[in-house]
């Protein structure tokens, strides 16, 4: 059983806090991604699990075993480092065999496992070369190979793709996902790229300043962000945030954004009614901000007049930077739109996908 559990884990270096009171449960065979901006503590959380940093408070369990005081080599984990950390003076074969040699595996078994892993990754022709003779992509695969060969309970990956060029990265992402399915082991993956997180993880842990923001499936993070940060972090281009107030107008709950007021759909109105008068932040994603002439059918829309500042033609869609008197926001329009810089057009918000966050606590109001 290789589930992982963090129980109120805190990591401090003197006065600096790396991780604060982190408690999460990771199931066996999950592919969980730690994501967040730089300095959020995602690498720290990973390294605490690996045993490369000591835990200040709290406990970490791998399986049923508390591993706080267990050395990395005894935790039965394997790790792929951002810089790959290959042993420069050893051939690829030896790099992959190193971990097994430490555990007194027989020569025959080492050979079998190394070649098997090399086969999976397509690097069987490189076994006799040294890291210095490999390309970046090849080195990355050797690093992964080194981890696979160990057949650990948990795979740890610390931003393994950030040193690859964009095209390779996309390819490698798919390969890692396939690997996960094939090996059926718990994967813990750290990245700062939310696109990577969204495409690869079964669940995602969002961190900021060492504090857990939300841990959920990609879909849930996208549709139901718990707080402002998660809402703004997930999704690109980022969600539009507009200062507003919850008011009642003609018996209906509305969001008053100063320049315009938007009526809230009935199902959400029930909840919001309890927070009338509150200062809030109204959130709507650019992909839910449409050209009033071209919008998907069946949505609850609210119309607003706005000026077009800049348009970015992307081929299959147009990113439009809009502005009303006091507010600036973005929309993603159908490519047939006639919005041009300088025009004023009607914009339709998909109110079914609206979010409201308490301005003070930044929590979602649901």
């Amino acid at each position: 059983m290789a589930n992982v559990k963090y129980e109120h884990v805190t990591k401090r270096w003197g006065n600096v806090v790396g991780i604060s009171d982190l408690s999460i449960d990771i199931e066996d065979k999950e592919f969980i991604v730690y994501v967040g901006p730089s300095g959020c503590g995602k690498s720290t959380a990973l390294r605490l699990l690996a045993g490369l940093e000591s835990i200040t408070e709290g406990k970490i369990y791998i399986g049923d075993r508390m591993v706080n005081d267990v050395k990395p080599k005894d935790r039965d984990i394997a790790m792929v480092f951002q810089s790959y950390a290959l042993y420069p003076h050893m051939k690829v074969y030896e790099n992959m065999a190193f971990g097994l040699r430490q555990r007194k595996t027989t020569e025959a078994e080492i050979d079998q496992r190394v070649r098997e892993a090399a086969d999976i990754l397509g690097i069987e022709k490189l076994l006799d070369r040294k890291p210095g003779q490999l390309s970046g992509g090849q080195r990355q695969r050797v690093a992964i190979g080194r981890a696979i060969v160990r057949e650990p309970n948990v795979f740890l990956m610390d931003e393994p793709l950030s040193n690859l060029d964009a095209k390779l990265r996309v390819q490698a992402r798919a390969e890692i996902s396939k690997l996960h399915q094939r090996l059926e082991t718990t994967f813990i993956y750290v990245t700062h790229d939310q696109v990577e997180a969204m495409t690869m993880g079964t669940r995602i842990l969002v961190l900021k300043d060492g504090i857990k923001q939300q841990i959920d499936s990609p879909q849930n993070l996208y549709e139901y962000p718990d707080n402002l940060f998660v809402a703004g972090f997930i999704g690109s281009p980022a969600m539009n945030f507009i200062d507003a107030k919850l008011v009642e107008r003609d018996g209906k709950v509305a969001v008053d954004c100063q320049d315009f007021a938007l009526e809230v759909p009935e199902d959400k109105a029930q909840v919001y009614r309890q927070h009338l008068g509150k200062e809030v932040i109204f959130g709507i994603r650019p992909e839910d901000t449409h050209d009033a002439d071209y919008f998907p059918t069946g949505i609850t829309k609210s119309l607003v007049e706005a000026r077009v500042d800049v348009t970015e033609l992307l081929g299959r869609e147009v990113v439009v930077h809009l502005a009303s008197e006091h507010i600036q926001f973005q929309g993603i329009f159908d490519p047939r739109t006639e919005a041009r810089a300088g025009n004023t057009i009607d914009v339709a918000f998909n109110m079914d996908s609206m979010h409201v966050f308490d301005k003070q606590t930044e929590l979602a109001i649901r």
Binding site: M66, N68, D69, V70
Partner: protein, 398 residues
């Protein structure tokens, strides 16, 4: 788990034990010398330096009581004709062996039936005790620590007692005046200190100056054959010191430069240049070229660029080089031996002079050594970083 916890603590223990052990081994010899240098010479000759830490007051009394008290009584007067606590009697025994002889004579003359005499170590303690108790010497007159060795070494004292004592009694040697001018006595460490400074300072400044010029030229000036010349120059580092001493000293003999400061300044400068130029060239050459390019665009001449840009920017390298060169010259013996000899003794040379050909005065070596080490130690500790940086930048001069 507790066992894991204990394992982690225990695994760190051997490291500390070994490391601290090594550090102690490294420190003890120096500490030993330092403690020794502060002890009166009689003490140095009679006991190891580590005994200063044992309380001295009670030593010897137990020896007396064990061996002699039964016969001579608690006041030393029990045997007729002999008063062991008489300062005049005890004052005659300069060394414990003399006391042993005296006691043996007493036994032979039948004056006392001593069955057993103390061994050498105990005899030393016994004598010390008797001296204290008889008043020849009270605790104050022979203190545990003294600066006498340092004073003697500085003044170049060669007598049997100490400079301070001799001057007080008016019995100083002919070359001493018993006033502050004695610090410049050519046989003393004081004079040698000044000489070392006179050698070291120009020998640090000159090579650095020339090396900075040359380093700049090799980096940013264009002239034919500069790569080849530089390679040859660096190759000169191969020539060992010993090879250059003989011919140069012969030339100096003809030019009358032997035994002069000018001679040794020129030599050290010449010898130190290959490495210095190598270092400066590497450093100046690694400065960003855009700085120099923009300076020339602005119309600065080479001299201005050198003086106002290259030099100030090279201060770290200059500092490392200076410290290196200073320590190397300050601690050098061979070159000073050959070119200055006894005419203008430097510290390293003078230390040897503290000891007469018969070996007397070797307690002065301790203080002399520390006088010579004081300045380098200060320089080292204050400027450690530069020293290390300089070392890592290239091979150390051998």
């Amino acid at each position: 788990m507790i066992t894991d916890r204990i394992k982690m603590i225990l695994s760190g223990l051997p490291t500390h034990v070994v490391l601290i052990g090594l550090c102690l081994i490294w420190l003890i010899p120096t500490i030993g010398l330092f403690v020794t240098s502060l002890r009166p010479f009689q003490d140095i000759n009679e006991s190891g330096w580590w005994t200063v830490f044992a309380p001295r007051e009670t030593a010897g009394q137990d020896v007396y009581e064990k061996y002699l008290a039964p016969y001579y009584g608690p006041d030393g007067k029990a045997v007729e004709g002999v008063d062991l606590f008489d300062p005049e009697l005890i004052g005659e025994f300069r060394r414990s062996i003399e006391l042993t002889v005296f006691l043996r004579e007493q036994v032979e003359e039948g004056k006392v039936q001593l069955e057993e005499l103390p061994d050498t170590q105990e005899m030393t303690e016994l004598l010390a005790y008797l001296r204290r108790v008889s008043g020849v010497e009270d605790a104050a007159s022979r203190p545990r620590f003294t600066l006498d060795n340092y004073i003697d070494a500085l003044m170049g004292y060669r007598g049997r007692d100490s400079y301070v004592e001799d001057c007080a009694a008016g019995e100083q040697a002919l070359d001493l005046n018993c006033n502050i001018t004695d610090i410049m006595n050519p046989r003393g460490m004081g004079r040698a200190f000044v000489n070392s400074l006179l050698v070291a300072i120009p020998c640090v400044i000159l090579p650095i100056l020339f090396a900075a010029f040359a380093g700049y030229a090799f980096s940013w000036l264009h002239f034919p054959g500069r790569m080849l010349l530089f390679a040859l120059l660096v190759g000169l580092q191969i020539v060992p010191l010993q090879m250059t001493l003989i011919p140069v000293s012969r030339v100096y003999a003809q030019l009358g430069l032997n035994g002069t400061f000018l001679g040794i300044w020129l030599f050290h400068t010449g010898f130190g240049l290959p490495y210095a130029i190598y270092l400066m060239r590497n450093f100046i050459g690694s400065l960003p070229r855009e700085i120099f390019e923009s300076a020339y665009l602005d119309g600065m001449s080479h001299w201005t660029v050198f003086y106002k840009l290259a030099l100030p920017l090279s201060v770290p390298a200059l500092a490392s080089l200076a410290i290196f060169q200073f320590l190397w010259i300050w601690n050098d013996l061979l070159v000073a031996l050959v070119f200055l000899g006894g005419q203008k003794p430097v510290l390293t040379y003078q230390i040897g002079n503290m000891v007469s050909s018969l070996g007397a005065g070797w307690h002065l070596l301790t203080a002399a050594a520390f006088i010579s080490m004081a300045l380098p130690m200060i320089v080292f500790f204050a400027l450690q970083r530069f020293f290390v940086r300089g070392m890592l930048a290239g091979a150390v001069k051998g």
